[in-house]
């Protein structure tokens, strides 16, 4: 009885093996092999704003914002085990804090954006801290409710411009600051988180995700670690919110919109969950795609959801894992 005659055999490329560990320093070729993907990503991100026209520069801003949110989602979901369906809460908090400081007290952008990132992150963390006792599904549920709750809070108390929003905020000084502030933040967030995950902090977080009882038994305070992880993700989200409010010079309830929650998730699934760089790639693929479909109105959300479903069902590894495999390994069919 013959079950299957062939199977796919995967082997590391010789250069993969040679560039492992300290040996990578032995020749330029190995170092280039390791650095190429990283440098390519950085160079592409830095060069794109120079090549695009006005309209696509705005799209680039949106894509980079979604990329940062996707990064935050991926970090929380895959490294801290907290599935956050309400990323728009962070955007909204950051945006509202920086917008209000700028509008009511007239503080300059260079104060409001950093201040709002930290304050917004603190508020967002505070809102979710109570739910940290919950895991998995329960955390997802509560985080999904919170942005809707904040919207109804703003409408109910009619503070902060209520349904109208606040307009005429200060704009970012010029287009290059606009673009490169975001690119810089994205790169810092991406490489910072990647580095962090290989430090002790990241190792403990991953252990918490895999088996929190065991980590607790080792005398480590898991809640403290979860709070720190949450704060980092919220910091990224709030920065985006603060940035967006000054990019458009306007803020409103649409900062809590479902788009900010769902597109990053779609981007994460598409790019490859747990890779950190994957979500960034996913966001830069999805956002221009959805921009091209702007004419179809509501179809955009349907489209992201369908892409999301297709990837999660048929290609759960995502784009980056696939590319990574092709880059580091070769495959061939082999007789069994």
């Amino acid at each position: 009885m013959e079950m299957s005659e062939r199977r796919k055999k995967r082997l590391d490329r010789s250069i993969t093996v040679r560039s492992r560990g300290l040996y990578a320093l032995s020749s330029w070729r190995e170092m280039t092999f390791l650095l190429l993907p990283r440098v390519a990503l950085v160079a592409l991100l830095c060069a794109l704003p120079l090549m695009l026209d006005m309209y696509w520069q705005r799209v680039f801003c949106a894509a980079a914002t979604y990329a940062m949110l996707a990064l935050a989602f991926d970090f929380l979901a895959q490294y801290a085990g907290l599935v956050c369906l309400g990323l728009s809460m962070f955007i909204g908090l950051g945006g509202y804090v920086s917008g209000s400081l700028n509008h009511y007290w007239g503080w300059p952008i260079w104060v409001t954006i950093p201040l709002a990132s930290v304050t917004g992150a603190a508020l967002g963390t505070l809102a979710l801290v109570l739910c940290l006792r919950l895991r998995g599904v329960y955390f997802a549920i509560v985080s999904f409710m919170l942005p809707l709750f904040l919207v109804s809070f703003i409408v109910a108390t009619s503070i902060l411009g209520s349904t109208e929003g606040i307009s005429s905020l200060d704009y970012l000084p010029n287009i290059w600051v606009e673009q490169y502030l975001l690119v810089g933040a994205l790169l810092v967030a991406l490489f910072g988180l990647r580095r962090l995950m290989t430090e002790d902090f990241g190792i403990i977080l991953q252990a918490v995700k895999d088996n929190d009882q065991a980590v607790k038994a080792s005398g480590i305070d898991i809640t403290a670690y979860k709070i720190k992880a949450l704060f980092l993700a919220a910091l990224i989200g709030s920065f985006c919110g603060a940035y967006l409010s000054h990019l458009y010079g306007w803020l409103g309830l649409s900062m809590f919109a479902m788009d900010f929650s769902i597109l990053p998730i779609a981007a994460t699934v598409m790019g490859g969950m747990g890779t950190l760089a994957g979500p960034v790639i996913g966001a830069f693929v999805l956002t221009p795609l959805s921009e091209a479909l702007r004419g179809f109105g509501q179809l955009r959300v349907v489209l992201y959801s369908l892409i999301l479903l297709a990837f999660i069902l048929y290609k759960p590894e995502g784009i980056l894992n696939y590319l990574e495999r092709k880059y580091f390994q070769f495959e061939r069919w082999e007789k069994v």
């Binding site: 998995g136 709750f149 109804s152 109910a156 998730i265």
Partner: protein, 294 residues
Amino acid sequence: MEILIYGAVNSMIFMLLAAGFALVYGVSRIPNFAHGAVYVLVGFLTWSFLNDLKLPYILAILLALVVSALLGLIIYRFVLIRLRGMPTSEIIASFAVSLVILEGLRLQGIAGFKGFIGPFYSLPPFFDAKINVAGVFVDFQRLFILGFGSLILLAIYLFTHYSKAGLKLRAIAQDEQAAMMLGIHPDRTAMLSLAVGSALAGMAAVLVLPLGNLAVEQGYHVLIRALAVCIVGGLGSWAGTILASLVLGYTVIISSTLLGTVWESMVLVGTIILILLLKPSGLLGKQKELEERV
């Protein structure tokens, strides 16, 4: 008195909204985020059957319920079955299904489809009249909700305790491996639970929607209410679900008479956070849930 009666009706609405979600989660551990979408879809299907196909009301409702049960089957068979045991993916995938359905209902201009936007859609009440109950005027639809709601609860109880399929559902919920050894098919059971859960969402839609307008946004609100009941009550416990519906139903009614209806969702979230602080496993959650949640 008014608060008492309307609170009872409101509690029953909460109960109906949460029943399907609680059933699916209790049996198959699948958080069905498409619950609210099925609810709204059944509303619009009934509306289309009534107004476009000119079917009699009863027939329209029954057809819509059949479609919802089928939809539950399809969601499980083609989407969730591939993701069993991966909670993150299950949440994301069912949420995506929900978005496809809800935002799809808003699509315009495809195949002459006008999109369900605007306040023009509402289902007629079964029987348009009001009655004086102990000094308060209550319309018949609200009484229907109370009556049918109790019937549905009774039916769920009888189904899960006395029918063979219902016993299978409970067996899987209690101990999946032991149930599998006795020849109960976990996938088929989960499929059944999703079909029943979606049909329950449909029944809730048909009963509750005649009270107001049909709108796509309700899908999200229904989901939130169902989740609120489940969190407060403690998942997997029917008594908890009933108790939580009563608590939330009365809290919402009392707060909206005192503060105004805009505060409803805030009261919901406030209650949830309070419960989580005081008793993380929900009002009547069992030890098993506690282990999983804390």
